[in-house]
Symmetry: C2
Subunit: 206 residues, 2 copies
Amino acid sequence: MSSSLLRLIRLLSGGFSNQTQAYENPPLFAHILVHFRPLPQLEAGSLLLEQSYAIDPMVPYRIRVLRPRISDGQIIIDNQSIKDPQRFWGSVHDAERRALIKPSDLLPLPGCSYVVKEKSEGFSGEVEPGCRCLVERKGTTAYLVSSFEINDSMMWTIDRGHDPQTHEQRWGALAGPFEFQRTTDYSAEIPASWSDHFQSEVTTQL
Amino acid sequence: MSSSLLRLIRLLSGGFSNQTQAYENPPLFAHILVHFRPLPQLEAGSLLLEQSYAIDPMVPYRIRVLRPRISDGQIIIDNQSIKDPQRFWGSVHDAERRALIKPSDLLPLPGCSYVVKEKSEGFSGEVEPGCRCLVERKGTTAYLVSSFEINDSMMWTIDRGHDPQTHEQRWGALAGPFEFQRTTDYSAEIPASWSDHFQSEVTTQL
């Protein structure tokens, strides 16, 4: 399992762009950038996530700290928001500011972990069951139904909001998944200590 | 009718952006720019249309010459494409190149005219009935179902592609209409001769 976890962290540690999809389907898909970048000062596996419109990469519409881990023999990605997130907007491109993110800046997002499955070519994941990952958009609350797939070269994501009472879809992804090409590889920034950490975790579990 | 036509041409002659919508609904709406700009060298009423992703305003994904006119007492907007359109990409922002567009550059788009209704606050229009406005996307053909509304400050558009056989929706606008704010007013560029033209047309029709 620990080698799977490291493989997932390596695959995620990159920059992704759906430029091809946006240009092949105007005007149906916004051109979006997604970056996941290791945060070596935090718990092993912690990755800063920023998602932005390509036109405004320093003003992400979503900034999170994700942490893949093993729980009961399954890969889970914990999802955390950041207090006063504007302090860290764009820090995925700015090592100095990124290094300032500390454990006390993180806020857990209960119900918003991803449950991940390994596949031959990569991984797929979706938000844990329970309809508990609540998100607000324009004053109304929906629960998030979100999934992704990732391999060496591509990533696909779908986000949808559903009504907590009726379970009807409220917004999102009706034109199909976002389809991203990998544009940057940050896996060389994964600290060696993380490999050691995950190896020793396995030993402890035996 | 001629005063309605001039009112429509004035309302259309502008620049429009859905930035607010894109930023309120990330990542569901691409940030899009739409410009309609008078082409005084062409038939009265001719407007150059360019639609582009905001990130790439000089590479429109759609460039057309529209011409509002009166037909059988109804306002129609004729829709024309341009031969070798790349010559004129971005010319909505470049008076010199724009002035080079000549009648022989235009290609009629049969079945793709808009039928327009005047309302107290502006106009609404939709592609003429008949399912004849065929568009290709990724090698498959669909017919366009497109509508718009426009007033002094805003414009809304919906584009959808439907299967010519089954009439099922194939692509487009599932998240709702694009919602544009007016950002530029080009109505001062409407030549005085167009008013004279439409006035005399009315006189002829009486």
